[in-house]
Amino acid sequence: MIEELVRTGLARFEYRHILNHGQPSVFAALATECGGDQGKWWNFHDHYMTTQDFSREGAIAMAAAFELDTEQFAQCLDDETHLDLVNGQHRAASEVGVRRTPTIHINGEGGAIVADRLIEQVMALAAELEAEG
């Protein structure tokens, strides 16, 4: 659904890390960012959303499956290279009032989680922006 909106060129979609479940949340966020270093950020995003496997071995196995440099990936994990980034996203979300997950914002404003309503909101906002010129 979001992909369809993005495909139209009307919208861009961004994902921000929320770390509400402790170490597994932090690890998955770090692994995703380490995957992003080698161009596979969304692969790891979808992997964690699908498998819920938050083990180091599973992450490295997936890195190998995605044909990443596993040594570099493992080093990134062990060094917690992106810890400041994921912590910063979590803090920023808290500052704008995000408490629950998932939370959708459209141009910084609260949006619907239900697909049909989200599409309606995006289309309404697109029409408003077009009218403004």
Binding site: V6, F13, E14, L19, P24, D46, A93, T101, I104, L129
Partner: protein, 162 residues
């Protein structure tokens, strides 16, 4: 001849008879000894015969005993065989169980392999799907962002993977 002449002649014969009879006596003893020896020999032979017979009897007895023993031995052998079979049966059962267990293990392994075989394509398909979705059908993806960087509308999802 008169009575006196007859008595004197009889006495002379008696004297002559006593001297000749003394010479014959020793041979009678050997005869008796021989007869004794012969009797002893016969007794020995008899005893030997009887011993031999005894031996033969004992051999027969032994053979009978052996036969009896064999007759006893056969049941005992049968018993031993039965016992061995009885011991062997659990062993055979154990071996069969082990074999079946060994067969079961490969079956379990096979089942695991089949499951893994089922899981592998599923996992492979999932990975392929993730890879495909990662490309987002040609959408511009920059780390945590997809879409036109200059798009007027930004949809932001704040989420956890759990």
């Amino acid at each position: 001849m008169t009575r006196i002449g007859l008595i004197a002649a009889a006495l002379a014969l008696l004297v002559a008879g006593c001297s000749s009879g003394g010479d014959d006596a020793p041979p009678s003893q050997p005869q008796s000894a021989a007869s004794v020896q012969s009797e002893q020999h016969e007794q020995q032979e008899q005893s030997a015969t009887s011993y031999a017979a005894g031996q033969s009897e004992s051999t027969q007895d032994h053979a009978q005993d052996q036969a009896q023993d064999q007759a006893h031995a056969q049941p005992s052998a049968e018993r031993e065989q039965t016992a061995a079979q009885a011991q062997a049966e659990p062993e055979a059962e154990q071996e069969a169980e082990l074999k079946s267990g060994q067969q079961a293990e490969p079956a379990a392994d096979q089942t695991e392999a089949e499951q893994a075989g089922h899981e592998e394509p599923e996992q492979g398909a999932m990975v392929a799907q993730i890879i495909e979705s990662g490309h987002r059908a040609g959408l511009i993806a920059n780390r945590n962002s997809i879409g036109d960087p200059d798009a007027a509308i930004v949809i932001t999802e704040y989420s956890d993977f759990l």
